[in-house]
């Protein structure tokens, strides 16, 4: 466990030693700021309309701002995650530093967990930027705090499982670009699967949409914590990390 943390710290430092971490944070801050602004603007316009029509029922901030914005973030994540994971293993394979890790008294699992944990923490830090924007809602309104926390938890779970998948893909190649592009394609696929559900209501359609990563986030965005979704994400994390250990082992045999 100690070794996992040592590797994780080193990876985090490496992220912040290059422009990647800052670049991703800036990118996310801009995009999130835009979507947040748009959602608030719509909320204000609709609110005024409602009042002019004489309905005095207050509109729900959570439903009108937090939920759509969090849904957006879950998609923005699909673009950020490949950028985080692409270097995880591919870079070390290319420069040969993987030989250091592989010849130290450290298990494959410790290496993988350390790197994945670093990626998760970086992703959490990036998501954390959005908290500054959401804090504004608390200054001017009374949104419900719990659903926001639950949706953050969902974003982190969703990110963690895609980061595990990305770690696996990065382990399969020594080319960072291929690792990034491959992860992006897989992220998109797991997202697009959800659309099938809109057209296909048969059992196959349901199964396919069950596999969609973003589909499982919808409940979280509403502030609903469903164990079914948590189980889905946890199993995908487990699968991704398991595949990574397998790939590390098989590469060793084939190398």
């Amino acid at each position: 466990m100690n070794l996992v943390w040592i590797i994780c710290k080193k990876e985090l430092k490496s992220y912040f030693a290059s422009p990647i971490a800052y670049g991703l944070m800036a990118f996310f801050a801009l995009i999130f700021g835009y979507f947040f602004y748009a959602a608030v603007a719509i909320f204000v316009v609709r609110g005024t309309e409602m009042q002019m029509m004489g309905r005095s029922m207050p509109m729900d901030l959570n439903e009108w701002v937090v939920r759509p914005v969090m849904m957006n973030v879950s998609v923005i994540g699909l673009f950020i995650i490949p950028m985080i994971t692409m270097r995880l293993f591919a870079e070390e394979k290319k420069t040969g530093t993987i030989e250091l890790l592989a010849t130290c008294p450290v298990t494959d699992l410790q290496i993988i967990l350390g790197k994945w944990l670093a990626a998760v923490l970086l992703y959490a830090a990036i998501l954390g930027i959005s908290a500054f924007d959401l804090a504004i809602l608390f200054l001017y309104g009374k949104p419900d705090g719990m659903p926001i926390l639950i949706s953050y938890f969902g974003l982190l779970l969703q990110g963690s499982c895609l980061l595990a998948v990305g770690a696996f893909i990065s382990n399969c190649t020594r080319n960072q670009i291929i690792a990034g592009a491959g992860t992006f394609v897989v992220c998109l696929l797991l997202w697009v699967l959800d659309w099938v559900a809109a057209y296909d209501t048969s059992t196959t359609g349901k199964i396919i949409s069950y596999l969609s990563v973003t589909g499982h986030f919808e409940n979280f965005a509403k502030g609903v914590l469903d164990s079914k979704d948590v189980v889905y994400y946890l199993s995908l994390i487990f699968l991704g990390l398991f595949l990574t250990t397998r790939s590390m082992e098989s590469l060793r045999w084939r190398a």
Partner: protein, 323 residues
């Protein structure tokens, strides 16, 4: 300390290491010599548990590389051909990180980092980014990180590759200085480096073990001497092999005759010439005139000699190699 037994490593298409066996005793510096592509790196990668062997065994300090990799890794310091450095880290930060990975306790870490940096002459750049260091410094930082946990065995893959002559000399004397506290295997394709640094040498070529001997023995064996393999069948009664051996020894130019084996009436010998002498013609004449059947006679030591030529040739080709 290191025991390699029938080690074979096969890649998808080729055999990189073919059934080699050798042993290294505690405290020795051993040179692992062979031309490019001989299988030096592959052997070292098996010894460091980076690659599993296809067949055969290898053990370090009594632990099998395949069954107890963690124990082996704890006891090995390894410097790959290109030092595995993270350019974004500072020197002391990097050495410390490797120390932590190698399991150096936190309480000793700082002292060990300082000690390793001192021993490898990198104390003056401890606070610099690795990206900013010259090649010679990088090599020494790699070396410092590989001795941080005071390993029993130090495995250095071409530690002088890509260095200029001055840096080479420094690195080699550094390695000599590390001997004593560690058992060291260092690979190189440069013969004089082995002569300067190592007590014993293991020569491989095309994945096969060619020779393993002390430096002096190899030198005397190789300075222009010829090895000839002879297969013959003495006629006229059961001649003792000693009689045959004596007769061969009397041929002019022969320095040594080694009896290899007997298969039925056939006897196999290896005959070594004095320096600069060619003995094949005389040997053949002597055997025939004794009225024995000469079944085969060919130069045997040539492969070793060829490799030496190749190695010395490589040294000449590399401009400014250590003198």
């Amino acid at each position: 300390m290191i025991k390699v037994d029938g080690l074979t490593k096969r890649y998808a298409r080729n055999i990189a290491v073919d059934n080699i066996s050798f042993e290294v005793e505690k405290g020795q510096i051993v040179g692992f010599l062979g031309p490019n592509g001989a299988g030096k790196t592959t052997t070292m990668r098996v010894l460091t548990c980076f690659l599993p062997p296809t067949s055969g065994r290898a053990s370090v300090a009594g632990f099998d590389v395949f069954d107890q990799p963690i124990e082996v890794k704890r006891r090995i310091g390894y410097l790959p051909e290109t030092p595995p450095l993270y350019p974004e880290m500072e020197v002391k930060e990097y050495v410390r990180y490797v120390g932590q990975l190698k399991g150096v306790p936190n309480s000793e870490l700082d002292a060990k980092v300082n000690e390793a940096c001192e021993r490898c002459n990198v104390a003056d750049v401890k606070d610099k980014l690795i990206a900013k260091l010259s090649k010679g410094y990088r090599q020494r930082v790699g070396l410092a990180s590989s001795i941080i946990h005071n390993p029993d065995v130090l495995i250095l893959d071409e530690p002088t590759a890509g260095l200029d002559p001055e840096q080479r000399k420094e690195t080699l004397s550094l390695i000599r200085g590390l001997a004593g506290s560690h058992t060291i295997i260092l690979s190189t394709h440069i013969l004089p480096e082995v002569e300067q640094t190592c007590q014993r040498v293991i020569i491989i070529s095309k994945g096969k073990l060619v020779a393993t001997d002390t430096m002096e023995n190899l030198n005397s064996r190789l300075r222009g001497a010829e090895m000839v393999a002879v297969e013959l069948e003495p006629r006229g009664g059961d001649l003792a092999k000693e009689t045959v051996q004596q007769r061969l020894e009397q041929v002019s130019g022969v320095s040594r005759v080694l009896f290899k084996e007997a298969r039925g009436p056939r006897l196999f010998f290896e005959v070594e010439s004095l320096q600069g002498r060619s003995i094949r013609a005389d040997l053949a004449r002597s055997i025939v005139s004794a009225d024995w059947n000469l079944l085969e006679l060919h130069a045997a030591g040539l492969s070793l000699e060829e490799i030496f030529l190749q190695l010395t040739g490589a040294e000449k080709a590399a401009p400014g190699g250590s003198k």
